[in-house]
Symmetry: C2
Subunit: 248 residues, 2 copies
């Protein structure tokens, strides 16, 4: 039986303010909860259905958090999924610290990506391409937003990140910064690329003027038709694919 | 003043059944309505706010359809957008007929793409890469679904398509069919690609067995991390980008 206080607390975590205050967030759905169980995140508490418990009995034994059996209805009441017949995990945020790239490492930098679905999809793409570390401008969407977590499809467990003024970061790192612009060099014609930072800009306004001054090479995805633009997550995928191809 | 019958009719077009019966669909939001005004689609009627009329006076003079001035509230009542302060167009569907590819043409084939957002995003990507003609398996999402139209960002005005059993189509065309699989040839290592059909499969199950028998080359997007998969629209973008690069 879920207590009123538990329901109230988890529902408060739908809002950034209470996530920040408590240092907690939640993860829902079978796939994502299994990924977080298999990660180094600290699970405070697991809310699971009987069928989830039966299916994943062995994995659950190794989890440190306490477990409460709930109904599908209760999961849907506390989470954001319209339908959830498996699990919801209450998880501790990690302390995220600034890092310095290793030689040969690709880093993804996001300049004011505002849509949580885009941010989550981009994190999944970064994970696909083996880009494990990201840096976000201060007003980029919040990593622990449930819509971000959902869109990463579990990839949130495998990346490191921090939020900072990008100009300061680029100044400190002194690495090549490849910025996605509409008037850059055709990414298909690049050669001999040195690993560095891939910088993607805001959904409407692109890369800000301030971050843009640190871009060492403007790159563009060649268009062959009349569409005016590509969604930023799609563009990120294409650019990561090209840089990975070029730097093998 | 919108009549009750008008409201009822446009709201009926939220459902596929009534779109099919009437041969009509609707397009909403400033960007998409401007694209449809600038296309060869026949507009039956335009519902626009006063501010949209003032802003686009010249373009509106050239439109064949009748125009009714409405409020933002009314637009939001009849359409699907949460917020729409510009326009909604009632548009006639085109008659879509099977086509045969021209020499050197790339065609995109979709095998049971079910999510309207994915279909719309894929159409936008096809338009970006100059792929103007698509073929859809019989249970792929409906082109005129409002969520598809919205996700294309206007690109729906620039593509041709038809729905048919893909195996029959591939048998007729006798072209190279490049199918996206998880165990295909690394797309970065392909060379000397002959234009043909790019085949993308269902969100959960991939390419069906029946369509798969017509695939002449299985291709795979190389992964460098631990993400298990990419969203089908993302994968389509990366594959189109590689084939366009390889066939220039």
């Amino acid at each position: 039986m879920l207590s009123k206080n538990t329901v109230k607390f988890i529902k408060s975590l739908h809002q950034k303010k209470y996530r920040t205050e408590s240092g907690m967030f939640f993860v829902e759905g079978e796939k994502s909860v299994l990924e977080v169980l298999d990660s180094d995140f600290l699970i405070e508490k697991l809310f699971i259905t009987e069928s989830f418990e039966q299916k994943h009995f062995t994995l659950l034994k190794s989890s440190s958090g306490s477990v409460e059996i709930v109904t599908q209805n209760q999961l849907e009441q506390i989470g954001q999924f319209q339908s959830n017949d498996s699990a919801l995990a209450l998880v501790k945020m990690k302390v995220n610290q600034a890092f310095n790239p290793s030689p040969g490492e690709w880093i993804l930098a996001l300049d004011e990506i505002r849509d949580p679905g885009n941010l989550g999809t981009i994190i999944r793409i970064a994970d696909w391409y083996g880009i494990k570390r990201l840096v976000f401008s201060l007003h980029t969407a919040e990593f622990y937003n449930p819509k971000v977590i959902q869109a990463t499809m579990g990839s949130f467990t495998r990346v490191e990140f921090f939020y900072e003024d990008l100009a300061k970061v680029f100044n400190r790192w002194k690495l090549p910064v490849y910025g996605a612009f509409l008037d850059g060099k055709n990414i298909h014609s690049l050669q001999n690329v040195q690993p560095g930072v891939i910088l993607m800009g805001n959904e409407s306004n692109g890369i800000s003027q301030e971050s843009g001054t640190w871009v060492t090479e403007k790159v563009t995805i060649p268009g062959f038709g009349q569409a005016e633009s590509l969604n930023v997550a799609i563009a990120t995928a294409i650019i990561c694919d090209n840089f990975k191809r070029l730097s093998q």
